[in-house]
């Protein structure tokens, strides 16, 4: 069917890239934003604009709060009927579920403290399963005051999940769609190199003043090549992070018995009880365990603070407490976990040195998840992600530029549709993102369901941009540039500046103030202003190119007319 390997790769690159590229565009853009997800959280919830704190006293502050947390109603309604065994009696009412697990998590970029409770299902259908109904809470660690749960953390709870799941949660379908797109991204990178392997120089050529088709292809090759290791690495590690649960859940399905056997062996080796004893017991002081853990880390020459703490089998003779170090000073996600008996406070287990494979894996996933404090590297991630977005966007434009003449002659609307979808996923996505930020500042903080309405604004404005892109796309059929590119750029520029001004008006935090005192918010504001300036430049440049294209289109029609007259 294909006459050569190279031709097969070109086919694959063009058609898979054209269809799944729209998904990849979203993944790359929101991945770039996710590097600063916590900063965007601060911007969108002004009550949380303060410095990150170390984990406060567990015994005095966190424990009483955790004891008052109730199971989440939605989680209960969805999962309780699935987990509970009706033959043993009716379902335990939501507020009477016993707590089984407490946890608290903090990062160096997060001033708020996230905590949660896993509630036990007393009569489970599968006693071996993970029978938990959850209840989470976010508090201000300085006072212990609960922060309103209704406010959406736009960065970490909307933009970040957008990156790996498109926020499509029905049966986790979004994760699978992103997974397939990521796999195709790896294939596109390999095939892209194969297509051009004979002319290596092309990879580093950029001729901005040639005709659009030529310079767009240059830019596509250049961005693809310069960031090739970055793109391959991130796609690969992204897939790897989800592989064992989602993409190749071999040990959670077919080899589950072997996995269970291994867990039993491991529980015997580690001395950490796999199950509850069923004997109620008092908990020892958690703060004393934290102090001991910190002392052990210091002795191992890696002093640090607590990042994650979890109490397992709460209030039971078998309870144990796992304390992990905040790993923000290194790339690999290593916790140096210490496990204490919950009832005596004794250290039961200290995690042994890791094997070579575990170290490689922790380094790879750690590099992707970037929990570390290294601002230069974090910004490099943003630029790497945006370079990927440019690579994908130029791929679309090249597809359109190469075919629009032919499509026009054949009366096909192929290029027109691809162009409209490209507008939607490039400028349309930007408009939707910044519209959400504007809505965040316009809707009152105490509004019920504010987070829901912010999402409505996001999806609503994106849909409007889709309609607008299709409405304006007829220009492509006439061999011109769709004005939707320029119009949406202008709209984005205006909204981005509006977001910065609204932040100032509603919170009093303007750049002159935040630039000296609070970088998370200053960084978001500055990024918005810079993006706005780039969008204005792009719009002006597009106007020039549109005029050139109009002249060419007139020539083209004249030639056509002559040809048809014969």
């Amino acid at each position: 069917m294909f006459s050569s390997f190279r031709q097969a790769m070109a086919w694959l690159h063009t058609w898979f890239g054209m269809t799944l590229g729209f998904i990849l565009m979203v993944v790359f853009f929101f991945g770039s934003l996710s590097v600063f997800d916590r900063e965007i959280d601060r911007w969108s919830i002004p009550e949380t604009r303060f410095e990150p704190q170390v984990m406060p006293s567990f015994d005095e502050m966190l424990l009483p709060i955790l004891r008052s947390v109730e199971p989440n109603e939605e989680d209960y309604n969805t999962n309780m009927p699935l987990l509970h065994d009706l033959s043993q009696g009716p379902m335990t009412p939501r507020t009477e579920l016993p707590a089984d697990e407490f946890w608290a998590y903090t990062t160096h970029r997060d001033p708020v403290l996230i905590m949660g409770v896993g509630f036990r299902v007393p009569q489970p259908l599968d006693p071996e399963g993970h029978n938990h109904i959850h209840g989470n809470i976010t508090i201000d660690p300085r006072t212990g005051k609960a922060l309103p749960d209704d406010q959406l953390k736009i960065g970490s709870k909307f933009f970040y999940p957008m990156h790996f799941s498109l926020n499509l949660n029905w049966n986790r379908i979004g994760i699978y769609i992103v997974g397939i797109a990521a796999f195709i991204m790896m294939a596109a990178l390999v095939s892209g190199v194969v297509i051009h392997r004979k002319r290596f120089r092309e990879f580093f050529t950029f001729r901005p003043n040639k005709q659009t088709q030529r310079s767009v292809l240059d830019l596509h090759n250049l961005t693809g090549m310069v960031a090739l290791p970055f793109h391959f690495f991130f796609t690969f590690t992204g897939l790897l992070i989800f592989a064992s649960f989602f993409f190749f859940p071999v040990t959670h399905t077919q080899l589950e018995p072997l996995h269970k056997y291994h867990e039993m062996v491991e529980a015997n080796e580690t001395g950490l009880p796999h199950d509850r004893a069923g004997v109620p017991a008092e908990m020892a002081s958690i703060d004393a365990m934290v102090a001991k853990a910190k002392q052990r880390w210091a002795e191992k020459d890696m002093p640090g603070e607590v990042g994650f703490l979890q109490i397992n089998h709460l209030d039971d003779a078998n309870s144990y407490v796992s304390i992990y170090r905040a790993g923000s000073d290194r790339v690999a996600l290593v916790g140096e976990g210490m496990h204490f008996s919950g009832t005596t406070g004794e250290l039961i287990r200290e995690e042994p040195p890791r094997s070579a494979i575990a170290e490689v894996e922790e380094f790879l996933t750690g590099l992707h998840l970037q929990h570390f404090e290294h601002w230069l590297l974090r910004w490099l991630y943003v630029f790497g992600g945006l370079v990927g977005a440019i690579c994908i966007a130029t791929g679309f434009i090249f597809f359109v530029e190469k075919r629009k003449r032919q499509h026009t002659l054949q009366g096909s609307s192929g290029s027109q549709v691809v162009d409209a979808l490209a507008v939607t996923t490039v400028t349309g996505m930007l408009v939707a993102t910044v519209s959400m930020l504007v809505a965040n500042r316009l809707l009152p903080a105490e509004m019920v369901g504010k987070g829901y309405w912010e999402q409505v604004v996001f999806w609503g404005s994106w849909s409007v941009m889709l309609l607008h892109a299709f409405w304006r796309s007829s220009a492509v059929r006439h061999m011109r540039i769709s004005p939707a590119w320029r119009e949406q750029s202008i709209l984005f520029a205006v909204l981005a500046v509006a977001a910065v001004i609204l932040n100032w008006i509603t919170t009093g935090d303007h750049l002159l103030k935040t630039a000296f005192h609070y970088w998370p918010v200053a960084g978001v504001d500055l990024s918005l202003l810079v993006s706005s300036a780039i969008a204005i430049y792009a719009a002006r440049y597009l106007k020039k190119r549109e005029n050139v294209a109009v002249n060419k289109a007139i020539e083209f029609s004249a030639q056509n007319l002559e040809a048809s007259r014969g």
Partner: protein, 101 residues
């Protein structure tokens, strides 16, 4: 009845064999390696993680090969045949190991 002589048919068959067959083959390879190495005393999460990393690269190579090869019959035979055989074998090995302890 699909029109097998339409030009879309061979390409659809090729994409299906490369994507689904490649996946099945990779699944089988991961499963048989884990099931085969655990009884030899290799650490569980080491094999699992190692095979997931290798598996992704194997899947990518199989997919690219499938998209390019002339030998569509071999593509179907190796990917589906090999995939099913390794998957079944993994279950057998797992069962005999767990029964033996």
């Amino acid at each position: 009845m699909p029109n097998f002589s339409s030009p879309a048919w061979p390409i659809a068959s090729r994409i299906f064999a490369s994507l689904v067959g490649g996946y099945l083959f990779t699944w089988g390879l991961i499963a048989i390696t884990i099931a085969g190495l655990i009884p030899l005393g290799v650490e569980f999460h080491d094999v699992e993680m190692g095979m997931l990393m290798l598996g992704l690269l194997v899947y990518l190579s199989l997919f690219l090969w499938g998209m390019a090869t002339d030998k569509l019959i071999w593509l179907w035979l190796i990917l589906f045949g090999g995939g099913v055989a390794m998957t079944l074998l993994a279950s057998v090995v797992q069962q005999s190991f767990l029964q033996g302890i």
